[in-house]
Each structure stands twice: as structure tokens, then as C-alpha cells.
Amino acid sequence: MSNIKKAVALILAAAMVFALAACTGGGSTSGTTAADGGSTSGTTAADGGQSETTLDTSKEVEIVMYFISDRPAGQDIVDENMNKLFKEKLNCTLQVNWIPWSDYSSTYNLKLSSGEPIDLIYTAGWLGYSKLAQQGAFMALDDLWPKYAPKNYAKATDQAKQQATVDGHIYTIPTLWATYISQGPIYRTDILKGSDLEGLEIKTFDDIEKYCDYCLEKYPEILPMDIYQNGSAWDAMWARQLGYQLIGNEAGNFYFNLDEENPKVISIDEIPGIEDFLNMMKRWNEKGYFSKTCLSITDSQQCQNGKAFIRCHNIDSYQGLMIDAYNKKNGWEWAYSDFNKYAAHLPFTQDSVSVSINSKNPERALALWDLITSDQEAYDAFYYGIEGTTYKLEEDGSAVMLDPDLYSTSGMWTVRTTGLTRKTVGSPAGWDEWHEKWEEMIAKDDTQEKYSAIVIDTTGLDTEIANVTDVYNKYWTPLELALNTNGVEGGLEEFREQLKIAGADKIKEAYQKQLDEYVANLKK
């Protein structure tokens, strides 16, 4: 008996030694790779100093890129086609890996932490760009970007560069395509034909209610509002039309009032009139505009699938719905309106591309990105695919996607570049006008635009942000849709109480300090 006990003890000891050995082994390897990465980037930077064209393309390399979207069925032929071009120009091939929409939230961070040598990876504010950068997931591009992607660098605005800066370093290449804060109602108009509401332009929340009442009356079997498990976007739209702007994009849903000279950071429940908004949502819920079990609905395309008539989203979604209707030839017409009090660009880091810290060929990867974002031929091959197979060009240079089931451009927003992106046939007629109008508004009134360069540092707030996010999921989302059991008053009270426990005050204080500094800088 005691023999066996000793044996077991010995085996356990051996197991522990083995585990320790494995652990130190792992430690040393990760250490060396990091050192390697440092030295290579060091030498290339030095090389770059000697002459302009130092990119060594003698060795063929494969650039690995990760992108979040569902892989189009015809991606294989598109890959083959573009790689022929890339091979010829830069002696490299590009392998695009797709993280599907259904699991991006669970796999995106894992891909970065796995240590896989990813060269290019999509990133964005809503994916936690600045936090990931602070955690060391991306390579600093301060020297590499201007050196190996000079054309792209020249095109990027100073504002974009400022937004890409985290702790004094640039970790991402922002998009070259201006996007705007454009959340607003998107609604079907073909169903209004022949009714009193024909030609209705939704301008207020009352209009939305009128529209939904009409839908319910005419199509009682369809719930007019597209709301699913992610909750509703009406709250943010409501706050924006009052002139409130979200601060610290990724974290915690805090707002400030654009009209105040020295704005104060507040949480959504502190915006004056919140009770009225919640009462309106309660009325909408009681009237049956959306499902009372909407938080368990997984279908995020209810409008596109004909299961709803109105949703709150950005102008890109509006364009998507129009193109979809054009391709399906189902006779649906959509309209969009802008509720925002002020116009502003979205941060250019909304869609951007970073180089992973584990990348083996950052120079070539950047050179490739430069090529794609500056050369029409490379851009077309990457974004539109093969002429004659996936797309065809009209005489005015706009593109028609030939077979949306084979290949569509829906997944590659990051690459969109002003000057290279073609007009897509089927896009809404007012599309360009909206963009022009916003540019004009921004030029005239920078009330909101002047805040677009603010980047909030969330160091030391991890615990509170995680807790506050959870409180939002648990209490705000049901309350906003009037799905909670204790009414508007009770729900608000509970939400406020939970926010306090979760440490919202600490976040507010930290945000306030940074906002004050930013405002002080603006005034200088």
C-alpha cells in the first residue's frame, strides 16, 4: 500500500516538474519571438533611413489577413485573381481569413492572443481598438507606415492620424473613406402608396409612431419594428437628436451635451426627459411595434427578410437595403432620414487595419495595403473581384455586382478609399447628396466635429467598465424596451442604483477629467 502511495507521489511530482518545464519553455519561446520581432523592425527601420526604396521583394511571402465578415461563396476565384496581380507587383500573395459575424465577438480577441503570425487584421473602435493597442496586441506603425505605405500615409488626414494615436504611438491605419454619424430611421415606403401617408417623411418620433400605427393596421401579422437580441438603437438616436454625444466609444454608454461650453459627463438616465422617452417606448411596446420577446430573437435582418418595416441604423445599412431590393427586384423602396442635431465624421478608426505584434512581414504587408489603397487595378481586384465574373463596369465607371450570391463587396469596408470606390448601381439616389450635405454642415458648424478627435484612455477602469457594461445589458436594455417588470419609475431607480454599485461614478470622473483637458486644449 505505502509503495503505491509513494509511487503516486512520485508521479505527481514528475507531472509538476514536467508542467513547470513546459511553462518555462513556453515563456522562453515567447520571449525570443518578441525579441526577434523587435530586432527585425529595428533593422528595417535603419535600412529605410538609407534610401527610399528599401523594400526587399526578392523573397516571396504570404501575407495573412483577418477580416470580420461572412466569406463570400466565390472568394476562391477572387483570391486567385488578385494574388496573380500581387505576385507580379510585390512578389507576395494575400491570404484572407474570415471571422464570421456569428462568432466575431468570441474569436476576435482569441485570434490576437493565440500568437498566430497575423500580418493585417481589421480593427475598429467598436472592437476595442484603443484597449487592444494598450494591451500590446498591435505593432507600432509610427515609422513603418510613412516608410512602406507612403501613398496611403499621404492621403490620411491629420485628424485620422490623431485618432489612431494611443499613448503616443500609431497602431492602426485608419480608413481613407469618410463616414458620418448617421444613425436614423430607415423605413419601407412602397407600402405607403395610395394611403394618406403617401410621401411621408419621418422627421420626429411622432412620425415614427404614425408610420408604425399605419403598418400595424395594414399588416397586423407583421411587427413593424426591427428589434432583436442586441437591443434597440433608438435610445442613442434620441440622445443625439437632443444634442448629446457618446463619449468613450467602447465603454459604458456615457454622454455629454454638445451645446454646453464645459460639458459634463453623464449617464443616459441623467439626460433630461428620459422618463418621457421611456414612457414613449412603453407605449410602443404596448401597441405591439416589436416583439415582447425581442431580446431572444437572433434574426438581425428582419427588415431585409420582410419581417419588419422600420429600423434604426446608419446610412450604410440604408444603402445595403436599397441594393438588396434592387438585386432582388422585389419592388421594395426604402427611405432614410437623419435625426442628428449636428453632423460629424465618425472616427476614421471606425474601420481600420492594424499589424499584429506577431507579424513576420510587416513591411510587405504595409506595402501591399498601400498598393490596394492607391492603385485602381489592385483595388478593383481586391474589392470588386474579377471583371466580367463578379462585377461589370458601366460606362460612367460605376460597378454592377453581377451575382450577389457568388460575390458581393459587403465584407470589405475597411479598404473603401475615396477616389477608388466606384458607385454601386442600385445605391439610393440621395446617397451622394447626403454625404455632401453632411460635409457642408460640418464645414459650417463644428459643434460636434470638434470633439471627434477625442480618444479616451480607459487604463485602470477595466473592472468598472466590465461591471457597467453588464448593468446595461441586465437593466437598461430591458428597461428601454419596457420589458422590465417594475415600470418606468421603478426600472430607472433600479438601473441608477446598479450603476452606482458597478462604479459608474469612477468612470464618469475619469472621463470628465479627460474631457475637460480636451476642451481646455480646444480653447487654446
Binding site: A19, S291, T293, D462
Partner: protein
Amino acid sequence: MRNFTKDLKKNWALWTMLIPALLVTIVLAYIPMVGLILAFKNYNFGKGVFGSDFNGIDNFKFLFSSGTGWLITKNTVLYNVMNLITSQALAIVIAIFITELLHKTYKKLTQSIIFLPYFISWVIVGIFVFALFNYETGMMNNLIKSAGGEPVNLYAKPSVWPFIICAFNAWKWCGYNSVIYIAAITGVDQEIYEAAAIDGATIFQRIRHITFPCIRPTVITMLLLQVGRILRGDFEMFYQIIGTNGQLYNATDVIDTYVFRSLTSGATLGMTTAASFYQSIVCFVVIVLVNAIVKKIDEDYALF
């Protein structure tokens, strides 16, 4: 030590046979444990798991500073105790019924049908639940409406969800668990039953005084094995049935779903590792306690 080398020499064949199992355990169970070190670190992608800086017990604060830690621990334990009791008790009852059935085809058929849910994945079960209970088009509300009643929104009543989850869990597992009990009952010497029948014992008396005592060791082993996973809430079940429906979180959040949700909505790797670490520690304590209790009652039944 010498004894061990002697034993190694004598039983080398047995020891060699042990090696594969040992390796698998080390590779799959012990080496991954090293990752728990992250619970005490501020994870940095560039520095990696071992290079990141230590930050003491900061990561654990996230779990307890808002009181969520206690809530999910309580939920995890209660759900598992409830699921354990219902699914095992049902399995025993089913096993006894099936063994008492005489008609062979009917017996096989019943057993197969009860076993079937085991093969249905939780993803599908999640869709069942939604199709049954959703407010507008759910089957339950359609039935109520056609009978002239007022539709009920179960999703607004968090308190009923523990029972729904428990029912689905029992439905899915009892067939599978009953197979083990059927095997145990079939193993009982038939002569005992015959003797009892001759002595005039009724069917209930036979079950009470023969079947139960005979399968007691099986029951206890099964219970102990289940207790081992008491803090491992069946993640898939909770996730597929509840999804991201915030209304029901307070009633249905278990440690696993909370960890998963935090990881996907902004918490750092360190914080979520800390939560998992906490789960493992509580789990270990529970197993040791339960085993000690069993040992006190009857030493033969204890696992270790």
C-alpha cells in the same frame, strides 16, 4: 523510494500500460492549468501569458465588487443541485419502470423514445424553447388564446425560468442516465426477486426492499460524479436557452455564462481567468466536502 523502484521492476508491464493515460492527463489536465497564472496578471498581447506583469488580486475584484460573484455562485449551486436531484431521481424511476415492463417491443420502444432527447443538441432545444414560449407566436400562447385566455409573457417572469431550465435538463438527461440504472438493476440476481415473489411480496415491496438497496452503490457513485461537476454549469444549456436576454440574467446567470459574456463584452482575459479560477477552487472545496461526508456515513462509498 527503493520500494518504488522494486515495484517498478516487478510490475513494469503494468506501469508501462499506465503511461498513455498518464500522458493524456498531464497534457490535457495539468499543462493547461498553468494558464491560471493569468488570473494574477494584467494580460498584454505582446508580452504573452508568461511575460505579462503581475497585478496581485485586482482581477478578482471585478467579480465581487458589484455583488455579481455571490449571485452567480448561488445560481450555479442551486441550479446544479436542482438538476442533479431531478435528473437522477427521474432516471431511477424510469429505470425501474422500464425493467418492470414485460412486453419486449414496447419496452425497447419506450426506452428509445426517452433516450432520444440526449441526441438533440442544445442549439435546437434553444429554438424549441423560443418557439414554445415567445409572446406573439409561441405555441403556449396560441393554445391559451385559442382557449380564450390572456397570453402570458414568460420572458417577463424571471422566476419561472429555473423550473423551465430544470425541466429541459431532466428531459434531456434522464434517458441517458437511466441506462446506467437499468444496467445496475439488470445485474441484480433474479432469484432474489423470485424468492420474494414466492413469499408474497408485492411489486412495490420488491422495489422498496430489493431494487433500492441493490442499486444504492450505483446511485451514490453517480451522485458523487455529478457533484464533481456541480460548479460547472452546463454552459451550452444556459447559453442556448437564455442567449443574450438581459431580462433573465439575474435568475439564470451561472459562472460559465457570466465568464463568457464578460469575455465577449469588454472584460480582460485576466478578469475572466480569475472568475474561472474562483470556480475551480469552489468546485474543489465542494468535492472534498461531499466526499468527506460520504466517507463519514459509509467509508466504502467514498471516491478517495
